[in-house]
Amino acid sequence: MPSPSPPQRAEIVRRLAISLAELLRLESPDSIHAESDLRKDLGVDSLGLVDLVTVAEEDFSVRFSSSTDFSVIHTVGDVAGLIEEQLARTSAV
């Protein structure tokens, strides 16, 4: 049986929004979009980054590269891009 194809960017953003809403105790994930700025719009600080990394790696079963520089990751879409990259690498193996 073929393995399921990795989720597309929009689906990753949607799932990330749900996780972030839960982490940030927002009533709904509806206000979180690919363009949402992690720091300015969502208040993700260095502590929030720990939660985000943990949840993203668990939910999507990926491991961010050890050379990842989160200081240049600004939006939810950027995180989704990283996850997409890792998923593609995993499925290519």
Binding site: L47, V50, V53, T54, E57, S67, S71
Partner: protein
């Protein structure tokens, strides 16, 4: 009244014995550092400042040991570990001081006096009291979690200093120091894991939130000794954590501590 931990950290002293034996062979060339000589012009001024302040910081082990002994209560094995750790950090002080001397940037009597006048014990106690997520948390657990963060922070700071110092010989020494700090980081993990084998589910559930509380309000030892602020050296350590290095810290610590989230989730759903 003596404080009696309800359970020991390690069942046997074997881990401590292994740590001690391995530690005897880390710096067989220690005596050879006596006459180092470097061109100070090749080393960025910020790195020279870092080297001086971190040398002083490593000399501060007498302060830190008091706090460790208090927090490890009468856990005999962890007290042994703290004494061995102290000796290894003092070795780092000697090595780093030799580098400073080689750069004509030796510490002064004023530096040593300023360090010795610090009130680390009370300041650290106040800090740990402030960041405790539960008033009844075993102080050994709190100290070990803090230890993982502190020691990994040191790994990253020494690695960054090695990359930026401009002199391969100094870089090689700093990388060896970083390796030792990783060993200390790992010991804190091993001790925490050994201790958790005896803990209740409720106690295990404290690890993840306690890690988050420390990370969210992280203060390194230099922040608890007034002299470092006097010489503007409080943040030199963490200033080496640029975006990439801080990301490394976030990834490493998140991955290590995330395995303890399950206990918190179990506790919440019980």
């Amino acid at each position: 009244m003596a404080i009696q931990p309800p359970y020991p950290s390690f069942e046997t002293p074997d881990v401590i014995d292994d740590f001690f034996v391995a530690g005897r062979n880390l710096w067989p060339d220690l005596a050879s550092f006596k006459n180092l000589k470097f061109d100070r012009e090749q080393v960025p001024a910020e790195i020279v400042r870092f080297l001086r302040s971190t040398t002083l910081n490593e000399h501060g082990v007498a302060h830190y040991l008091g706090s460790y002994f208090q927090n490890y209560q009468n856990d005999f094995k962890l007290r042994f570990w703290s004494a061995m750790w102290t000796a290894e950090e003092y070795t780092h002080y000697i090595i780093l001081r030799r580098i400073c001397q080689g750069l004509d940037a030796d510490l002064t009597e004023k530096d040593f006096h300023g360090l010795e006048m610090g009130d680390y014990f009370q300041n650290m106690k106040a800090y740990l009291d402030r960041i405790k997520v539960d008033p009844s948390i075993d102080m050994r657990m709190l100290q070990l979690i803090y230890g993982v963060l502190q020691e990994y922070g040191a790994v990253i700071a020494y690695t960054a200093a090695a990359e930026q110092c401009g002199i391969p010989e100094i870089a090689a020494i700093l990388k060896r120091v970083a390796k030792d700090e990783m060993r200390h980081c790992r010991f804190n993990q091993v001790a925490l894991e050994a201790m958790l084998e005896h803990c209740s589910e409720g106690e295990k559930a404290l690890v993840w939130p306690q890690f988050r509380a420390i990370w969210g309000d992280l203060e390194m030892p230099t922040e608890h000794i007034g002299y470092f602020a006097e010489i503007g050296a409080t943040d030199l350590y963490t200033s080496l954590w640029d975006g990439e290095k801080k990301s490394k810290i976030v990834l490493y610590l998140s991955r290590y501590f995330s395995k303890y989230r399950q206990y918190m989730n179990n506790s919440a759903s019980a």
